[in-house]
């Protein structure tokens, strides 16, 4: 039986804690608090109830007939896009926010890239009556202005981060700086299965419902396990959430799809495992995009949620042991799969999730028409309508009337 990490948060040579000493005792406290909460039936029942009543979990499994036909394999979609706030992220955040309540810390901070984790955090904090501060790279606040408004509407304070590349990695840096100074009263709601121990395993525990539910749903629908389970990988929370249930099922292939951007060979991508090297970033040893001197390199992807130069340590471990494989899908491949799902199923996926769909289309060619492929549809695409419309050229030129000219 697969049992990772060890008691100090190592997945083989990956993971651990590369953090200022000031945060070690707080991380230990968090680790103990989560271990206790997990073993407390009252807490877990409360979390279950909230996910069910509030977040619309469990999400359905949906057989995508017309998409399957186009793909040439039986494609089953785990509909995380139907969760409250439109993505898998709510599972993680409700869990961490409820833990914050249990510990008794009234203030929560979070980082966000596209704004999805920020919106989920603002939502959970409104729901559970916590003060919420979200750090977001200044560049991302401009690219995702609507999500900034959404967070503010929900009562959160959004702090634009102006240092470094002014994107997600800098937002994490700034949230960590806040946390060092505020840890007595503040919980850090971390947005993905990365960071220092215990975040990678705690976030996995909170998202693993995706795979646990899907495994039972696929068995019920088809009578057997899928041939492959496919998810996109940014930091890795939706992918580890899907994979965990299947790790001991040796016949189920686990495939993580990384953001290939313009193509890994161009250097403009976010395919951390495919195109990066082992190093230390944001508290853990894992694969990352770095230059010869170990300076972090900026990532590139059409999908803001996958645009991160690091990845969670458990994925590095699963790649290293060969239990899971990680392959890139380019911007163009993801957008083509995005278009196909829209047109065949009437579902607009998040561009992140479209990467998983693109991976499934490739895999279908290899596995053939008798195969069943489970795909995590991690989120809905409402937030991406503007990006996709620009990409496909769907926005008509605005009509400019000259002054004094009657229409």
């Amino acid at each position: 039986m697969y049992a990772q990490p060890d008691t100090t948060g190592h997945f083989g040579r990956f993971g651990g804690r590369f953090m200022p000493e000031a945060l070690i005792a707080p991380l230990d406290e968090l680790d103990h608090a989560w271990t206790d909460a997990k073993a407390d039936p009252t807490f877990m029942a409360e979390l279950d109830r909230m996910l069910r009543e509030y977040a619309n979990v469990p999400s359905p499994l949906y057989e995508a007939h017309r998409f399957s036909e186009a793909a040439g394999a039986r494609i089953l979609l785990k509909r995380e896009d139907l969760n409250h706030t439109g993505a898998h992220k709510i599972r993680n955040v409700i869990g961490q926010a409820l833990l914050a309540k249990r510990i008794g810390k009234p203030r929560a901070i979070a980082e966000t890239g596209a704004g999805q984790h920020g919106v989920a955090s603002a939502t959970a904090c409104a729901y559970l009556d916590l003060e919420c501060v979200v750090y977001m790279g200044e560049l991302d606040t401009q690219r995702q202005a609507l999500n900034v408004a959404r967070m503010r509407m929900l009562g959160a304070e959004v702090v634009p981060v102006t240092t470094g590349s002014r994107t997600l990695k800098d937002a994490i840096n700034e949230a960590l700086r806040d946390w060092v100074a505020s840890v007595d009263t503040t919980s850090y709601l971390f947005g993905t299965a990365a960071g220092p121990h215990p975040f990678p395993s705690m976030v996995r525990d909170l998202t693993r419902g995706i795979g646990d539910e899907a495994r039972a749903q696929v068995l019920e629908l088809t009578g057997s396990l899928p041939d492959a389970a496919v998810a996109c990988v940014g930091g890795g929370s939706n992918a580890i959430g899907l994979f965990t249930a299947f790790i001991d099922d040796a016949d189920v292939r686990l495939v993580g799809i990384e953001a290939g951007g313009d193509g890994v060979e161009t250097g403009r991508h976010a395919a951390t495992i495919t195109g990066g090297d082992v190093g230390v970033l944001h508290g853990a040893r894992s694969f990352l995009l770095q230059d010869e001197d170990g300076q972090t390199i900026e990532s590139h992807s059409i999908s803001a949620g996958l645009d991160y130069p690091g990845v969670g340590p458990e994925h590095s471990f699963l790649a290293d042991t060969g239990r899971a494989s990680y392959v890139p899908a380019t911007d163009a491949e993801a957008m083509s799969a995005f278009d196909l799902l829209c047109k065949t199923e009437g579902i607009i996926p998040a561009i992140e999730s479209a990467h998983a769909l693109a991976g499934a289309l490739e895999l279908a060619k290899e596995l053939g028409p008798d195969s069943t492929i489970l795909v995590n549809l991690s989120g809905r695409g409402d937030k991406d309508v503007h990006t996709a419309a620009e990409y496909f050229g769907l926005i008509d030129e605005p009509v400019v009337l000259e002054q004094g000219v009657e229409e």
């Binding site: 000493e21 000031a22 005792a25 840096n173 840890v183 190093g279 970033l281 001197d293 972090t296």
Partner: protein
């Protein structure tokens, strides 16, 4: 005895605290960073911390972030840091590198230790490497005779203070506030308490940093610490200066002021 052990033997005999000054390599340029280090040693700094500019400095406030960003934009490389160490060690002041862990791991832990020792460097300060994760660095530091300066914080448990003090050599770096680097109006009340807790578990010298920016604050900290560590205030001198010579002069004067403070008179 390492160069750092000798320094603390001397400052203890003189009845004063040692003055530790931090400046990032390559800021504002490699040449100027060397001149700035020479100026602070002339002004009275006993031990030099050469900062290795890093893209993701989570322990640093705006001042040091700005300097690191400028150094990286100007093209500062790990090998440049080693050159700056060589020049700094040539002043006679023991010189250590302060660095986040990834650049060392990327360079190769053994290769970095060898290059640092070869340049006359005395050790490493590692703000995001705790002893729990440091097996490879402990082995390399022993092989090349380098000191391992680990950090402790007000939040450290007594157990972790003892474990960290045990793993450290040269001195122990006590961060006096819960927060990032940066000059502060007042020194922290947490400093004396943290050092008192450390004294119960170790005889090793204790340096106190985070927030010290002038001679008066240095004097306060020197009352209870073996070394007073100053960073952002020195970096500010260069950031704020109108020209090169004004910056160097400001650094020299600040170092003199701080030195008078650590003399405890």
């Amino acid at each position: 005895m390492t160069a750092i052990d000798e320094l603390f033997a001397r400052t203890r005999a003189e009845g004063r605290a040692a003055l530790v000054g931090y400046l990032p390599a390559g800021f504002p340029s490699k040449e100027l960073s060397i001149k700035a280090i020479e100026a602070m040693v002339e002004g009275g700094v006993d031990l030099v911390e050469v900062g290795l500019p890093y893209s993701d400095p989570v322990m640093d406030g705006p001042t040091i972030q700005a300097a690191a960003e400028q150094a990286l934009r100007a093209g500062s490389r790990t090998t440049d840091v080693i050159d700056v160490v060589r020049a700094s060690a040539a002043t006679g002041a023991p010189t250590v590198v302060m660095t986040y862990w990834n650049p060392v791991e990327r360079f190769g832990v053994n290769r970095f230790a060898e290059a640092l020792a070869g340049a006359g460097g005395a050790g490493l300060i590692t703000p995001d490497l705790i002893p729990d994760e440091a097996a490879e660095w402990v082995a390399a530091s022993e092989q090349f005779g380098l000191d391992r300066i680990f950090l402790v914080a007000p939040s450290s448990t007594d157990e972790r203070l003892a474990m960290t003090a045990d793993a450290a050599s040269g001195f122990i770096y006590a961060t006096a506030v819960m927060g990032v680097t940066g000059a502060r109006e007042q020194t922290s009340a947490l400093g004396p308490e943290l050092v008192a807790r450390l004294r119960k578990v170790t005889d090793k010298p204790v340096g106190v940093g985070l927030g010290v920016s002038n001679g008066d604050q240095a004097r306060e900290v020197a009352e209870f610490a073996d070394a007073v560590i100053v960073g952002s205030a020195l970096v500010r001198c260069l950031l704020d200066a109108e020209d090169e010579s004004a910056g160097l002069e400001a650094i020299r004067r600040l170092a003199q002021d701080l030195r008078a403070g650590v003399e405890r008179n």
